[in-house]
Symmetry: C2
Subunit: 494 residues, 2 copies
């Protein structure tokens, strides 16, 4: 059948979806969620069919295309396409097999990941895969296969030198910008540490958002290589590199139920490490009631599996379990966190002590992994001598940024203080509320928005003293943020 393309300006968020008028659908006996092949010149894509009875949306003789389909086939309104009924993707059978608790082979896992990367699976189908892996945990061998499949269906960076250091934090803690201290520190010590980081999804800033307050973070693989060749390190956004593209799509359907199949968490993280060819990987698991990992039992379990998976992939993996009960550092939001990092590297007295302690401990672990003793002392020397700071400036420049005094970082011009309602000791801080307030104030998109904390847990405070200051670049957002800060308790004092 021949139909004319019509844009409907909706994004499915990933899956390829097209909408048929019910009359055309009936002619070809196509049902909702059936798969159809669209031929446009030499291009061809298999998409999931939706059906509408609204001639306003898709008139007879037309086919409504979601944005993903439009991009894939480079369509303009009115372009003619040939439509035929397609077979289901091969991987549906394998997903079903996993739901039936069978072990999957390399070929089957490769096919599933290929179909995910190429948007061949609908959300419902992808959800079955995630549910199957969650409830019928993958074996270690399957996890290795999944890790390699996710990595190898994206780009893989290769380096001439070894070792290649890397770190990863199993997130959820506001502040906590250890990467921006460890990368210049280890690079200053002569090690290669090509770090790719993520942007925030639900937090006030990802490392990539914070680094972006100081330099560019979006680079191609080739550009990244040049930066690392010059400076030993980089802090860039992983999203532009097409590393492990299946991963983001899997994470998307995990979100509604907040399930995190352990084997998928392992595969997701290790695939990204595999993609950048790191050899020594330090993994930080913060524990806290608002963190991804809530108990030390869970953390120990995860550590065992990370280390085993590392061995099977030929990587040295060391896992540390840390305190994730409250924000680390004082700034929350890109520029405010970047200021903490620069103060720390410049040995400014305003630097956050908790962030420094954590970074020194992690640096010591990294040194130990590559066989250097007295790592803690070496790390402190690299900081105190200014070598780590100078390396950071080098990296910032290599990433098209400028050296900037921390005080000159532009913060939101609207500010408001949130005060203690009573005197006492800070017994608890709600990370979720802290992140929400910072986000509503404009973080991470508005770099200067967020908040700055004056108190941490255990600190004493008097009624009327400042707990934190909110920064925002818009009066309206400040109003929303203040509303939330007033309605929702973030500091528990008694």
């Amino acid at each position: 059948m021949n139909l004319k393309a019509k844009h409907i300006h909706i994004s499915s968020g990933g899956a390829l979806v097209a909408v048929l008028n019910s009359i055309d659908a009936a002619k070809m006996d196509i049902h909702t969620l059936d798969r159809i092949k669209l031929f446009r010149g030499r291009r061809v894509e298999t998409v999931t069919a939706n059906i509408t009875e609204s001639d306003a949306l898709v008139p007879e003789g037309h086919i409504g295309v979601f944005e993903e389909v439009s991009r894939a086939l480079k369509l303009r309104d009115g372009d003619r396409m040939t439509i035929i009924l397609a077979r289901k993707p091969l991987s549906l059978e394998f997903i079903r097999r996993k739901l039936d608790r069978q072990r999957l082979t390399k070929k089957e896992i490769d096919q599933i990941v290929w179909d995910i990367v190429h948007n061949k699976l609908s959300d419902v189908e992808l959800t079955y895969f995630v549910a199957a892996c969650y409830t019928n945990a993958l074996s270690m061998r399957e996890t290795v296969l999944l890790t390699k499949a996710i990595a190898s269906q994206g780009e893989i960076l290769r380096w001439k030198k070894k070792p290649i250091l890397d770190k990863h934090c199993i997130g959820g803690i506001p502040g906590n910008r250890t990467t921006m201290v460890l990368v210049p520190l280890m690079a200053a010590a002569g090690y290669t540490i090509p770090k790719t980081s993520s942007r925030s999804i639900t937090s006030a800033a990802g490392t990539a958002d914070t680094m972006e307050a100081l330099a560019c973070v979006t680079f191609s693989n080739e550009e990244m290589k040049k930066i690392v060749q010059t400076t030993n390190g980089c802090i860039i956004w992983g999203g532009a590199l097409n590393l492990a593209p299946a991963d983001d799509k899997i994470i998307r359907v995990e979100k509604p139920l907040e399930i995190d199949a352990e084997s998928q968490l392992l595969a997701s993280i290790m695939a990204k490490k595999f993609s950048v060819s790191s050899t020594h990987i330090l993994i930080d698991i913060p524990i806290g009631k608002d963190a991804k990992v809530k108990t030390s039992h869970e953390a120990r379990h995860l550590r065992k599996h990370f280390e085993a998976l590392g061995r099977m992939l030929g990587k040295r993996v060391k896992v540390i379990v840390t305190d994730g009960s409250q924000p680390i550092g004082n700034g929350v939001g890109p520029a405010l966190e970047a200021r903490d990092v620069l103060w720390l590297l410049r040995r400014d007295p305003r630097r956050p002590a908790d962030l420094e302690r954590k970074c020194l401990m992690m640096a010591a672990e990294m040194f130990r992994m590559v066989g250097v003793k007295n790592g803690m002392q070496r790390a402190r020397e690299l900081l105190d001598s200014g070598k780590a700071y100078r390396k950071m400036v080098e990296i910032i420049r290599a990433q098209f940024g400028h050296e900037i005094p921390p005080e000159d970082l532009r913060l939101g011009k609207f500010t408001a203080d949130v005060l203690a309602k009573k005197s006492g000791t800070v017994r608890d801080i709600d990370n979720v509320v802290i992140s929400r307030v910072a986000r509503i104030a404009g973080a991470p998109l508005n770099k200067g928005s967020g908040l700055y904390l004056y108190r941490h847990m255990g600190g004493k405070v008097k009624k009327g003293e400042k707990l934190f200051t909110i920064y925002s670049e818009s009066r309206e957002k400040m109003r929303y943020a203040l509303d939330v800060a007033r309605e929702q308790e973030s500091f528990y004092i008694w």
Copy 2:
């Protein structure tokens, strides 16, 4: 936040979905798949948020509403609504619990089914529930709870008399219109048999489609009761009665993977029987390579569970396992099947012998369930005496139809014969191809479309003899149907 409604003329197929402009979404820190509450006067609905960057689709200050939302809130373009971020539905936690292999309580199952019925779950979330029930089979107790929850969150019909007979076929076999023979037969014998049937989803006709070639099938609960009080029986479409509404929604997400969690199949069928308060239920499980149940092992397993579930629900359930390897009867498509049924009831020599044999056997089983011996003979008498036919005419009239000679049923005016390509014995018939050809010819929407078979398995045929005739009401559909009939083998002869 206050936004103006804008219709976007798309149906999600169930879930309540609204689309925000990315600027408004950022102001409220709303992400794709978050839940938001929409207030419109006194009405309020919780919906899933999608986000667009296209001002063409949803400009800033507006909110795009899918058809389901528009209906639920009775919205017109430009209506002002208040939007707030909503909590997740309670049942997500319970679904997660089932994924974690825990047993669910009555309260939890009731909540899940309530959320399904009220469109509170997105497709992805509902899929997690289906996947959880599939891979971590429900216990018998959970299945009973699910059955009752599905039934009680719809209407329940009650009758003054007992027993109430019922039957169900676990589908997939073209033709096979036993209901349309058994209902008048058992009603003529004095039993109450208020049968609700489905329309076709992927077959050439459901019983409701076929009955619709003779009478109306869409009635309210009250109308149905009146029909049954007058005639003892009815053959109507279940879809208009709001019986077990959760069921259709569950079936929708099962389709892509063609999974059928056994516990959900059981709950789905028994919930509908519970809703019509039947006391004696005969279940037909045809086995065949194209049927829903493929092996006798599976069928036996299912039988055991049906009978156990029946006992726990206080119903008498009898399961028969039958041959589902080929079409039953000669007509495929509403009018063609209705003609077979009328021929059978009128004792016309052209009646299909296979359908008659099956109906007699099933009637005998039904008589045995209510304690009548010699059921086979009674059934034959009811047919031969014309009592069953007269009861059918009564039911047709009660359902606003007219007595019509079978020859006067309007069939598609375009016909084409499909001939045997060689001589031999018919070794196999592909039910899937038979259904597809009939559907593309126009069934079930065009009542007179479909096909009429001249041969069954084991029959001898000479090259050039007719295998079947296709009927269609449109030249174009006939062309498509013939294409498929020529390309795809339906009769295997050697």
